[in-house]
């Protein structure tokens, strides 16, 4: 499950950092109408994207959405079929991977098994024009950064998975690239270690000031680490925004559904003025009062998306919220700190509501089959007029 606190803390600490809102800023990376085809398969479809210096940019999407292809084009392992990719204003197409100021951390880590940890980190430096005398110092510095000084003389097979991950990170950062690409960097770690490492990554990114582009299919990871998240589907960018906006204001059902848990209700809209929209969604049920961000035409089919934690569940009917629906508890998913209630409405729809377990389990106010009231304000959900997901 998505953890709320993680990105709240992060986004507040970087609230002043928003170069994408400043039209004066020159992007570090520019994708201009980039298309990539493998035979008849289109992996990237006419994509435009700007990534700015010092950003921690996440490419998020299911497998096969083109996020890895996008990253491999930045590294130089794939070339664009159409369009241009600019790094610092320079067209990257003719530059081979070994001449790019871009380094990559591989999903498999790709550590050289025949070299020690220190030699792995030094590998890139030895190929650069750095004087020999400085290489050793730089290697020590990188190993200190990832807290692996003690393991310098070990071979990759003699250290743990988490340590290998940090060697891979140190190796890719050693040449101080303008851009660091991370391909599912934490995929092979277990959950606890992954969470610790996420914060470590953010720390290192802030310390080095390097621009990070991370590829992941884990929405929680993307939300935690990134300054901006690009949600991808079938080679297109569906939404590029800050984690908070992606979560709170998804621009499509696809994004709403992909990020976190959501209730999706379809209905016919009718405008009530002042941006208020009424959605008639089921026979015998009161219309849902919602707020539309974009103007909606009367009578169009819309999708109402609302997060379970924004739906309150009570025994009595409440009067201070715009929407109030009756139902009965069908299922309870107990997650420790919170519980998710699956509430069945008389129409047969099931709505999920979340409540914090601030009481002991034994003193919980409702249980299975109890009649309950669900309520939410008219601004709690989102009215999406395009249910195709684009």
């Amino acid at each position: 499950m998505f953890k709320h606190g993680d990105f709240m803390a992060h986004s507040s600490s970087t609230s002043t950092f928003a170069p994408w809102e400043d039209s004066e800023q020159k992007p570090l990376i520019q994708f201009k109408n980039v298309t990539k085809r493998f035979g008849s398969f289109t992996a990237i479809d006419n994509l435009n994207l700007d990534i700015f210096e010092q950003e921690f940019f996440a490419l998020l999407g299911p497998s096969g959405c083109g996020k890895t292809t996008l990253m491999r084009m930045l590294a130089g392992f794939e070339s664009a079929t159409e369009g241009t990719i600019l790094l610092d204003g320079q067209d990257m197409a003719p530059v081979p991977p070994n001449k790019r100021a871009v380094n990559m951390m591989f999903q498999s880590y790709a550590l050289f098994p025949h070299l020690t940890v220190a030699d792995n980190v030094a590998f890139g430096l030895k190929r650069s024009d750095m004087p020999k005398s400085e290489i050793e110092g730089r290697v020590d510095e990188m190993l200190r950064l990832v807290r692996l000084e003690k393991f310098a003389t070990r071979k990759p097979h003699q250290i743990s998975g988490g340590q290998r991950q940090r060697v891979a990170l140190a190796r890719s950062l050693a040449k101080a690239p303008k851009l660091l690409l991370l391909d599912e960097p934490l995929g092979a770690l277990d959950k606890k270690l992954r969470q610790d490492t996420q914060f470590e990554l953010m720390d290192i990114q802030e310390k080095t000031g390097t621009t990070f582009v991370i590829v992941t299919h884990d929405q929680e990871e993307a939300m935690t680490v990134a300054s901006r998240v690009a949600v991808m589907d079938e080679g297109r960018l569906v939404q590029v925004d800050t984690p908070a906006r992606i979560y709170e204001n998804p621009n499509s059902v696809y994004v709403a559904d992909f990020i976190g848990d959501v209730n999706i209700i379809e209905g016919n809209a009718s405008n009530k003025g002042d941006g208020l929209v009424e959605i008639n969604w089921a026979e015998g049920q009161p219309a849902i009062q919602g707020t539309a961000t974009n103007a909606v035409q009367d009578g169009t089919r819309v999708t109402f998306a609302i997060r379970p934690e924004k739906v309150s569940i009570t025994q009595e009917r409440v009067s201070d919220k715009a929407n109030c629906i009756e139902g009965k508890v069908l299922d309870i998913a107990y997650l420790g700190n919170i519980s998710t209630y699956h509430v069945e409405l008389p129409s047969g729809h099931v709505i999920k509501a979340q409540a914090a377990n601030n009481r002991r389990l034994a003193r919980r106010s409702f249980t299975w089959e109890d009649a309950v009231w669900l309520s939410f304000t008219d601004t709690a959900g989102i009215v999406l007029s395009d249910n195709a997901g684009g």
């Binding site: 081979p96 590998f123 190796r171």
Partner: protein, 298 residues
């Protein structure tokens, strides 16, 4: 449980005992005997009918004479040295020819690999002897190679290849090439493609990545292949006797002549024992390499 384990250990030891140690002791015994005009052509033979006395006279009849003889006649140590040289050079040539083939096979599209593998193994389906003899037809003065070269006009007079050391090198390289290709192919094939991408990403050209990543990581395959070629090539006798000339000196050929032409079993056995001792060194090194390889994978 313990009986089972003992039995499992016993099987390979029995194998070694019956097929290596016992024959070796017999050969060693013959090497310590003296030649004789008899059947078998050496004395003493072990005769239990005389009881303890017979065994005592048997051991008294054994001596190091044949080994001393080997050091006195320069033919033998020259043959050993020449064999080492021919084996070493042909191993090097086999590596140079085999590595690119193995590399090409490992990088070939997946659907091609079984076919390529088949092509490497296919010659084993024909008798080794027939294949070596057929090289005579290719390399002789009137052979296919000379006819082809004369036809293209590259040469005006036929080359003398057959019955020279060159023919021996060709024969050894041809025969043992699969033993070089297969272990190298196995090593390169399991090499993770992302390692080469990582090397390139860190600033290597393709060529540098090959030298710094592919070669070191296929080292175990190279070493295994070299030993698999060097060890049998050292004692090879069919190829030098069929393709080599009178000047080709190889210990396997000397051994064969000692045994069948001179019927001097004791000297032939002494030659064989020394050859085995020479081979023990590379065999031990080979085992070490295999063990190291297993450890680094484990």
């Amino acid at each position: 449980m313990n009986v089972r384990r003992l039995f499992l250990i016993f099987v390979p030891y029995l194998w070694l005992l019956a097929l290596f140690l016992v024959p070796f002791l017999i050969v060693l015994k013959i090497a310590l005997s003296d030649g004789a005009l008899a059947i078998p052509p050496y004395i003493p033979t072990l005769d239990f009918s005389n009881g303890w006395e017979g065994i005592k006279t048997f051991f008294a009849g054994l001596d190091m004479e044949n080994f001393i003889f080997l050091t006195e006649d320069e033919l033998y140590w020259r043959a050993y040295l020449s064999s080492l040289q021919i084996a070493a050079i042909s191993t090097a040539i086999t590596l140079l020819v085999g590595y690119p083939i193995a590399y090409g096979m490992a990088k070939a599209p997946d659907e091609w690999r079984p076919t390529l593998m088949m092509l490497v193994i296919l010659p084993f389906w024909t008798s080794f002897l027939i294949r070596v003899y057929s090289w005579m037809g290719i390399l002789s003065q009137e052979g296919f190679l000379n006819q082809f070269l004369l036809w293209t006009g590259i040469i005006n007079d036929p080359l003398t290849i057959l019955n020279t050391n060159t023919a021996v090198y060709i024969g050894i390289v041809y025969t043992y090439l699969p033993f070089m290709i297969l272990p190298i192919y196995a090593a390169i094939e399991k090499l993770d493609e992302s390692l080469l991408e990582a090397a390139e990403d860190l600033g290597c050209s393709r060529m540098q990545a090959f030298w710094l990543v592919t070669i070191p990581l296929s080292k175990s395959g190279i070493i295994a292949g070299c030993f698999l070629v060097f060890i049998p090539a050292l004692g090879e006798f069919v190829i030098p006797s069929v393709l080599g000339g009178s000047k080709t000196l190889m210990i396997g050929k000397v051994l064969w002549e000692e045994f069948f032409s001179n019927r001097d079993w004791p000297v032939a056995s002494a030659v064989a024992v020394i050859l085995l001792l020479i081979l023990v060194i590379p065999i031990i090194l080979f085992q070490r390499n295999e063990q190291k390889q297993r450890e680094s994978e484990g």
